[in-house]
Each structure stands twice: as C-alpha cells, then as structure tokens.
C-alpha cells in the first residue's frame, strides 16, 4: 500500500524532517550545556556557525511540511476510491485510527516550525543572540513532535488496507453520529457565525490596539488562535454548506477539490498563515523586554500583526464571498 508516489513523497519529507529534528535536537542539547558567547573558543565558533545550518534546515523543513500538508490531504482525497465506502479524504483518513492523528500532528508541526523560524529571525537580529537558549530548548520540544508526526504517518500508511469498509464524510459529518466531529457539525450555524464574527472582531480590535497604541499583542495572539479553531468549526458547520450549495454536506476536505473551484485553498491558506503569524507575534511579545531586542522587537511584532491581520482579513472576505455568492439559503 505504501507503493504510491504521493505516499513515498510524504514519507520522504517525514524522513528528512525526522533526521533534521534528531540532529538539531542533539545540537540543541550541546547549545544548552555549552553556549557562551563571551568565549572565543573554537567550539563556540563552530556552534555559532552551525546555527546557520539549523536555521536553513528548519526553513526547508517548514516549507516541505507545508507542501506535505497539502499533499497529504490531496492524496487522502485521491485514494478515496481505493477504499470501500470512502468517498473523500475523511473516509481515507478513517481507514485506521492513525489517519486523523497524523493530520493533526502535521498541522501542529507546521505551526511550531513557523513560530520557531520567527523566533530564530528575531534572535539573529540581536547583537548577543539573546534567544539562542530559548530557541534550542524549543527545538528539543519540537523534535519529538516531528518524529511522532513521521511515525504516526508511517503507521497510518503501513496500515492502509483497501478492503476495510470505512465511513465517508456523508456518514461522519452528519449530526446523527456520535463523537466530536459530529458535535462540531451539530454546532448551530447561527451560533457558529456569531462566534466567528465575535472572534474576528476580537482579532480586529486587539490588532488595532497593538498597531496604534502598542498594547494588546498577547490578546491578539490568543484571539488569533481562538479564531483559528472557531473558523475550522464554522467551516464544518456552515461555510462548507454555502460552498457546496448543499444543506447537509459538511466536509472540510471536499472544499479542496477542483469541483468546488479549489475554494478550500482560498479559505485555508490565509487562515493558516494568519494564525502562524499571530502565534509568532505572541511568542515574540514574551521576549520584548530583552535588552538587545528592545529596539528591534516592537517593530517586528507590529509587522507580524499587520500581516496577520491582512491574512485574517482575506479569510474573512473569502468567507463572506462564499456566503454571498451561494445559492443556498440557510437563514430565512
């Protein structure tokens, strides 16, 4: 079952990311023990130069993981007709119990790597590398995440049996079923839209506050994350209905199909980027007091928040457009 090009590409990415994670975690341990900028010794110099490589490698890992995330969902969709009863990605991911965990770990890796890169760039801007220890402690936490993601993904693909009868989205995402996903589906559309609007407003207000008065950055990050989850819930509960023009089709993956004009990308890409930038801004805000970063960070955080707001704004426009252009009337 593993003998498929997209699966091989995905495993290749996971394998390489795992290698990078292991190697940089090992290096991170060394940094935590030995890092001393005042020291002019050879070892310190070598460590400083290696940090360049780690940054480069992580940049690649994030890029590859972002592509792999798209590919993972796409491939799940494409393989759906290999499984009895599966009609889209949800069915494929449900073939065994590792499908959805693999997806969640992939998403988590994407956000973690994005935040790490933002911290890394800030660290490089400070004259005394003020965040290096934080950064490498972060890597030691990140490595298990990346490795677990790879391992779960491998288990998932290795356990794919085409003869298993799986549930497809039309079964899973109907309110009658048990479980978390059906509860999300069961979220009343009106409530979902109110929540989405509310968290959007929170993002807009806290973002404006941090851009104009330089405060509320943490609030912005938190509301960004809240918006992310609310938005996912709203996509399943109501937005997808508008895109499909169908009162009972709640699938979050079919949105990515060409039949629906790839509308999912228009929704997900800005949402993911906005959230990653908001998270990055929040994490940087923690370090704003460091002496060597005091002059640099506020401007950077403002920029991140600005970009994040643009991304969230695009997501908002995409949502409104989906509702306005739809034939479906849910309320009224």
């Amino acid at each position: 079952m593993i003998f498929q090009t997209p699966i091989m590409a995905l495993l290749l990415v996971s394998g390489l990311a795992g290698l990078v994670a292991l190697w940089s975690a090992w290096f991170g341990l060394r940094v935590l023990r030995r890092w001393n900028l005042a020291d002019g010794s050879r070892e310190q110099l070598e460590m400083e130069r290696q940090t360049h490589l780690i940054s480069t490698l992580f940049g690649f890992v994030m890029l590859a993981e972002a592509l792999a995330l798209l590919l993972f969902v796409y491939n799940a969709d494409r393989m759906a007709n290999l499984f009895v009863g599966a009609m889209c990605a949800v069915g494929t991911l449900n073939v065994n119990e590792y499908g959805f965990p693999a997806l969640y770990l992939k998403v988590a890796t994407f956000f973690a790597a994005a935040v790490w890169l933002i911290v890394d760039r800030a660290d490089r801007a400070g004259r005394d590398y003020p965040l290096t220890r934080v950064k490498y402690a972060g890597i030691i936490l990140l490595a298990p995440l990346i490795l677990a993601g790879g391992a779960v993904e491998l288990t998932y693909f290795a356990g794919l049996e085409t003869d298993v009868i799986t549930s497809c989205c039309s079964k899973l995402f109907t309110p009658a079923n048990e479980g978390l996903s059906s509860e999300v589906t069961g979220l009343p559309p009106a409530l979902a839209l109110w929540l989405l609007g509310g968290s959007g407003l929170a993002v807009a207000l806290s973002g404006a506050a941090s851009l104009w008065w330089g405060r509320g950055q943490m609030l912005f990050a938190v509301s960004g994350v809240v918006l992310f989850f609310v938005a996912l819930a709203a996509i399943i509960s109501i937005i997808s209905l508008y895109v499909y023009d169908h009162p009972n089709h709640h699938c979050p993956f079919c949105l990515l199909q060409p039949e629906h004009g790839y509308y999912g990308y228009v929704l997900y890409l800005p949402l993911f980027f906005g959230t990653a930038l908001a998270l990055g801004a929040g994490v940087l805000q923690v370090f704003v007091g460091r002496p060597s970063l005091r002059d640099i960070l506020p401007a950077r955080i403002r920029k991140l928040i600005g970009l994040s707001m643009v991304a969230f704004g695009l997501f908002g426009l995409a949502t409104i457009w989906a509702i306005v252009s739809s034939q479906l009337i849910v309320f009224g």
Partner: protein
C-alpha cells in the same frame, strides 16, 4: 528591487559565474538530472492519465458482474441464474453476457468476441462490427472487405464487416469483434442456454452490498465483481507500476545526489580556499550557504522544469512513445489512442518533492561544512 532581492540576484550571479568555469561538466550534470526528472514525470503523468481515463470510461461499466467459478476458474453460467438475480429486490435488470476470445493464427492476435445486447446496434447473421485495431492488423484496407476466420485447419468462416467502431473509443474497443448471438453460439459451439457471465444493473449504488449478500445465498459458488472493484483494480494497477518505477527513479536521484554531495564535500582545495576568500572579504556564513543553495536551486529547479515540460510534451503530444513498447508487451493489437492532456498542480508538487528534495538534502550538509570555514584561514 529591495536590497534583499538584489542580494539574492547577486548571489545567483556569483554562483553562475563559478559554475561557468566548468561549463561542460555542470551542463551535463543538469542534463542527466533533467533526464531522470523527465522519466519520473512521464511515468507519473502517464499513469495518472490512464487512471483518470479508466475511471471516467469505466464509470458506466455494469454495476455488478456475476461469474460462475469452477476449480477456481471462470466458467460458463447457466441461463437460469439470470432470472434468480433479476428477482432480487433493487435489481433493475440482469442480462446474460456472451463474450470470449478468439486467437487469430494469421496475425497472432487475440480478439475479444462479443454479442452486443442493445437495440441501437443492428447486426444480422454473418455480419460483424470490428474494433479499430483488427482491420488495421489484418490489412482490411478497403471498404467492405470481409473478415475470414479459421478455427482449425481447413475451416473458414466469413463475416461481412458492416462497421468499424470509432477511433474515439479505441481505448476500450480496439480488439472488439461484435457478432450476433446465433453466430457466437455457432462459431464457438456453445449450448443454447449458457452465458459467459451475467451483468446486473442496480438502481441504488448504496444497495450493492445488500444485493450481493442476497445473491450469495442464491448462488453460493459465484463470484461477484462490482464496478468499484473494477475501478480499484485499475487504480491499483497503474499505481503499482508507477510506484515501482518512481522508487527506482528516487534511488537514481539519491545516487545522483550522493554523487553531487561527494562533489561538494570532496571540494577541491581551490574551491575551499575560494569560500575562505569570500568569508574573508565580508561574506557571512549565511551568505555562503545562500550562495551554495542558489547553486543547488538553479541545478534542481532547472532540471525539474526542463524534465516536467519535456514529459508533458512526451506524454500528451508525443503519445508517450517511450512507454508504448513497454505497455504493448507482446500484444499484437494495441489501441491507437491519445491520453487526455491534464496538468495537476498537486501532482507537480509531488514530482517536485520527489525529485528536488533528495538532491537538496544530499547537498545541504556538505554545503554547510564548506561554509563554516574560518574567515582568517586565507591569511594563514
């Protein structure tokens, strides 16, 4: 242009000037790389084209085929079974199908002989409708040329060719020979009330499993092939071949990457010195890494784009000429078909990951080794 972009371009300039010093060697490197990408891309485009074709075309195949099995082999099925199947709730219709193979000793080809069961196809006794490849391979070049078939030494049966199936359907009909039921039974010496298998139409696709369960009780020895099974068979078939070939190609790219890594790590003293010079005159480790990444990026992206475009031309404009002999194997009849051109961004993403990633990964570590030299080494 921002300073960042200008810096990137200047780094690329340097990389290219440096590559230009061994022009022949580097160009052949890119060419070989592009060739591998071309092969992988051709395989992927061809396989996915075939998968899609099979998927679309066979979406109208019968919902269910019921076959009699004897000794694990496909057997003729008694006509009485047709009514049993038709009686199951949810079954719209059940029809006995008559089809088989005829080995033509004249040209060594296998024909699929079939009885059409549809009012739109008008056939009289002694007449035949042929698939596109049969007249081609038998050299029946003029209109109305009859087809003579011989079952054994001294035997000759004549069929008037009334029609040839259109070229558009070659992929499913190239070797078909349609004759009437009476001709079929006479030609193959078949008893009057047996069929090759039974095709079953089912109103609601969701009920197929239930219907099979019921039919299994009526016909415990039969085998049931659903439309989904057919589709899966084809998906798997082309997946498998694609997977096998792509694995080989990844191995080739890895070998190629290791070769490139070797080249990068076993850098000549001159090249190491050069990087020392760059660092001494004010390049940062990051600048050197970026410069070397440009080298990798230009080589791999150049090869990727060249390979992908060439593969598109090969598969969709050139009729996948390189694969035809492989696919054709030993068959005499081969449909004259062109795949529906398609370009899939995510397929290109897969191709990109599969071909560019191993190369970049293999060259990254040696690049870093080189980049971490001491800037003051050139002064010693």
């Amino acid at each position: 242009m921002t300073p960042w972009l200008r810096r990137q371009r200047a780094l690329a300039d340097y990389t290219l000037s440096a590559l230009g010093r061994r022009k022949g060697k580097n160009i052949s490197l890119v060419v070989i790389y592009a060739l591998i990408v071309f092969l992988v891309a051709s395989i992927m485009m061809f396989s996915s084209g075939m998968r899609r074709e099979a998927d679309l075309v066979l979406s109208e195949a019968p919902e269910l085929i019921v076959q009699q099995l004897t000794l694990g082999r496909h057997e003729l099925i008694a006509g009485g079974e047709v009514e049993k199947l038709a009686a199951i709730r949810g079954v719209t219709a059940a029809k006995g199908r008559l089809w088989g193979y005829y080995y033509d000793r004249l040209n060594g080809a296998n024909y699929t002989v079939m009885v059409p069961d549809d009012p739109t196809i008008k056939l009289e006794q002694g007449q035949a409708i042929l698939g596109e490849a049969i007249p081609r391979s038998r050299g029946l070049s003029w209109e109305g040329a009859p087809l003579f078939l011989s079952r054994f030494e001294g035997d000759l049966v004549k069929f008037d060719v009334v029609d040839t199936l259109s070229h558009d359907s070659a992929l499913v009909s190239a070797d078909l020979m349609l004759i009437t039921e009476q001709d079929f039974r006479d030609f193959f010496g078949l008893a009057p009330d047996v069929y090759t298998d039974i095709s079953v139409s089912i109103r609601n696709e969701r009920e197929i499993a239930t219907i099979i369960a019921k039919a299994e009780k009526v016909m415990p020895k039969a085998r049931f092939v659903t439309r989904a099974d057919i589709s899966r068979t084809y998906q798997k078939l082309f997946d498998w071949r694609e997977g096998l070939l792509v694995t080989l190609a990844i191995a080739a790219i890895l070998a190629f990457g290791i070769f490139a890594a070797e080249k990068a790590s076993g850098l000549s003293a001159e090249e190491t010195r050069e990087i020392g010079i760059l660092k001494a005159i004010g390049w940062d480790t990051g600048d050197v890494i970026a410069m070397k990444l440009w080298e990798g990026a230009l080589v791999s992206v150049g090869a990727f784009l060249t390979g992908a475009v060439a593969a598109y031309v090969h598969v969709f404009l050139g009729g996948a000429g390189l694969f035809a002999p492989v696919l054709k194997g030993w068959s005499v009849l081969y449909p004259d078909f062109a795949l529906t051109p398609q370009i899939d961004v995510l397929q290109l993403t897969t191709l990109f990951l599969v071909t560019v990633l191993p190369y970049v990964a293999a060259t990254l570590v040696p690049i870093w080794r080189v980049a971490t030299g001491d800037p003051d080494q050139v002064m010693r």
